[in-house]
Symmetry: C2
Subunit: 153 residues, 2 copies
DNA sequence: TATGAAATAATATAGTT
DNA sequence: AACTATATTATTTCATA
């Protein structure tokens, strides 16, 4: 069940390019294509690899702004939590949301076309979710790093 | 240059599954495989699709913890900024980092194996970067949403 | 300039040892 | 796990709108 050197090499290759041909991965990890193909299938079946996604350029799709919105609920009733979380799920501009420690309850990652759009998402969608008390926006000025690859050590 | 309905359908299909066969995408968008294949290549060449990545399960790879670390620099000298940013680039447990508005200068997304590991990353790596003044950790208790798909409207 | 149909090439998977 | 054979998938060619 734990990953061996081959599995790590395979995952690492896929993190570089998830469309890398099995034969190329096989060369890198010094194995033939067959076991590489089978190992990839096993990693998928085990849920270690959940799927594959394109890495898109948000700017080229019209999303110039990026913000992290910290949100506090007025009361942590089941009702408030459920309403909040389903509003979050339904909002296409929320690309990630976590319940967090600290002063605030949630950290919400939002993408927006421009400042007005961000303002609209925050003021018209997020603050209007019933039960939301306080909202603080942290606007991204510059992205220093965004490799979402996981270390395999 | 702007995307048409076909391009959006193609990107949307790839966001569901970046390994979806061209023929299947062709069916969905009511086109033959040939133009779908060419459009994907064009989207890649234009940098709209930057690449492809596996979606991994961090827990199954031993990363149980997730934190956002807010960092302040003592002074915003070029030296401090450069040292900080290269330390961030070199740290494999930093999966994202943004320069942000507000009280703090940077928002750093960190993954860790456990609490000790997070503590080690924060106290031994991040706070020790020369020029770092203040560090506040926001620990992720629960991930409510993590679809990183972009809207295409 | 972009498409569709057919042919070819590339790639992945399954069977066998 | 490798080798070989087969199946799937992607791409190129070419004719056409």
């Amino acid at each position: 069940m734990p990953l061996d050197e081959f599995d790590r090499g395979i995952i690492s290759s896929l993190q570089e390019d998830a469309r890398m041909p099995v034969a190329a991965i096989a060369d890198r990890v010094a194995l033939s294509p067959t076991p590489v193909s089978r190992r990839i299938k096993r990693l998928e079946d085990d849920g270690i690899i959940r799927g594959y996604a394109p890495v898109l350029d948000p700017r080229k799709l019209g999303f110039e702004l990026d913000a992290y919105v910290l949100i506090n609920l007025a009361a942590h009733s089941d009702d408030n939590i459920e309403r909040f979380e389903s509003a979050i799920q339904a909002n296409p501009y929320v690309i990630a949301c976590h319940a967090v420690t600290g002063d605030m309850d949630y950290l919400v990652h939002v993408i927006a076309r421009d400042v007005e759009h961000l303002s609209e998402i925050t003021l018209k969608s997020l603050v209007r979710i019933p039960g939301v008390r306080d909202v603080k926006s942290i606007i991204v000025l510059e992205t220093i790093k965004e490799k979402r690859a996981l270390p395999l050590d």
